[in-house]
Symmetry: C2
Subunit: 306 residues, 2 copies
């Protein structure tokens, strides 16, 4: 620690240096000291760039306060803020630099439920009969192309009204639109659902208001969430995106990656539909979603739950 800076009074010029000189490295949590040192530098550079008025600063304080007050057991407005500023995707990218060929990660989102039902392959996760029928089939392989039996493919999506079951407790059937499937001896899994649709992130709070002030819409490109796990492999937290969604190139949380855009084929054949498990349906969507897992290097998957 520089004793000179340490004892200096605060001035506009040396602001960040004076603040950081106060960290007592002999007592501080080393990583926290490192993070706050960097935060202070970038925060002061930001303030110096925009030169906020006192009222603007207070607007920022009020925004953060309202965002905090919006957070409950079922609503995490700060994660939403992190999402719409691309911070969540950036943190995900930094932590999931996989070997090429392995399936890429994307945002987890706030609606994952850890206690999802384990279902047999072929089951239909759609329990409210709304939407266009959709059959998802695929394999789980390693980066050398070897099939992985016993891998778990955990999926969830909104219903056709654009809401997750946990957003509509008492309205949607229990565990609507979620379930986990296990790959068979040939590394295959399959399940029935409905074609995903775009939906807005919860935009009735401070983050929604901010989006409005930026001329941004609150919509996520249509997707099915998936977490793919297998022993000895890196967990993949990802999406299958619907290729024709109007919001594909402007997902409000920046979750779309080229490699995650799915292949959706419309099959207009009642016989094939019945064979796929959609009796009486005039058509269904056929989606192929293959996952490639990278060997784990000791790290463990993090699936937070708010």
């Amino acid at each position: 620690m520089n004793k000179q800076t340490d004892l200096a009074y605060f001035t506009e010029e040396n602001s960040a240096a004076v603040v950081n000189a106060r960290i007592d490295k002999t007592k501080a949590h080393p990583r926290m000291a490192e993070v706050i040192d960097a935060l202070t530098r970038h925060l002061h550079a930001f303030i110096k760039e925009v030169e906020p008025t006192h009222e603007e600063w207070l607007t920022g304080i009020k925004f953060l306060t309202e965002t905090g007050h919006m957070c409950t057991e079922w609503r995490q407005e700060f994660i939403l803020l992190s999402d719409i500023l691309g911070v969540s995707m950036l943190v995900d990218a930094i932590n999931n630099r996989r070997p090429s060929g392995a399936t890429e990660n994307t945002i987890l989102g706030p609606f994952y439920v850890a206690n999802r039902p384990m279902l047999p392959n072929g089951d239909n996760i759609c329990k409210d009969m709304k939407g266009e029928p959709c059959l998802v089939t695929g394999t789980v392989r390693d980066t050398e192309g070897r099939l992985i039996p016993g891998a778990v493919v955990d999926v969830w999506q909104t219903n056709d009204d654009g809401f997750y079951d946990v957003q509509q407790k008492g309205v949607q059937p229990e565990e609507n639109m979620r379930g986990a499937f296990t790959t068979d001896a040939e590394g295959r899994y399959w399940f029935r659902t409905v074609k995903p649709r775009f939906y807005p992130i919860p935009d009735d709070g401070p983050v929604g208001k901010l989006l409005g002030q930026l001329g941004r819409h609150p919509f996520r490109a249509a997707h099915i969430h998936a977490i793919v796990t297998a022993e000895g492999y890196d967990t993949v937290i990802t999406h299958i995106f619907e290729p024709n969604c109007r919001y594909l190139r402007e997902d409000t949380v920046f979750g779309v990656k080229e490699s995650l855009v799915g292949h959706f084929e419309k099959v207009e054949d009642t016989l094939e539909a019945a064979e796929a498990g959609f009796d009486g349906a005039p058509f269904f969507w056929k989606v192929q979603a293959d996952w490639v897992l990278a060997r784990s290097h000791g790290g463990k998957a993090i699936v937070h739950h708010v």
Copy 2:
């Protein structure tokens, strides 16, 4: 707007550019767009520098959430955070670049009460009889040295236990340690109080915990707050610092400026003490605090109140 960037998917490399390209300048609030553009760039640069793990990111989300939940009508934890990171002082410095010779600003702090009592010169703001008696006298002048009659000097400080009255409602007498005085025809004001003492900022919340993790203490250098107002002049929001305070060079919110360190003289004379209004006191402190106001250039003083 660059259509190329606008339609690009998010990658680690182009992260901030992709996020900012989503701002629709034809619909956005222009200043909000400017501020969020800068915030996103500095925030992404910060994330790229520290490369937080997913757990560390979640620690940050939880910290912000707890900070929000700590905020009530009487406690503003985000202002406290802004204070200990030097952001409040930086915003103040940017907005109060005064002509040399004028009294400098410092932090307002969260304990200002707008409805303070107007008192006659010489009154004692200390109503709980604790602490060492102190007589503050001074003048208000303009930058040309002309005395300003009718200026208002609004002062407040903690009691000798280190708490503001609003922190101890029902414990301290009403309006203890606060009052506003008006300069007389010669631009003079004077009042009685007690010698200020250092005190901790409220440190039982997330901000206090953060200070601990940085090896920092929660103490503010001993001070008397003052807001000096006069028609046609820039309002000065400032402090008188006690020169011998052990925390003078390490005020936890960085409020100390060389020019604001007061002159405190100990007068050990019972007669002079009685004359100053401290009957029976074996000694008292004599403080001279002169203020110099700059002509206002249209802006209006901002005294927020949480």
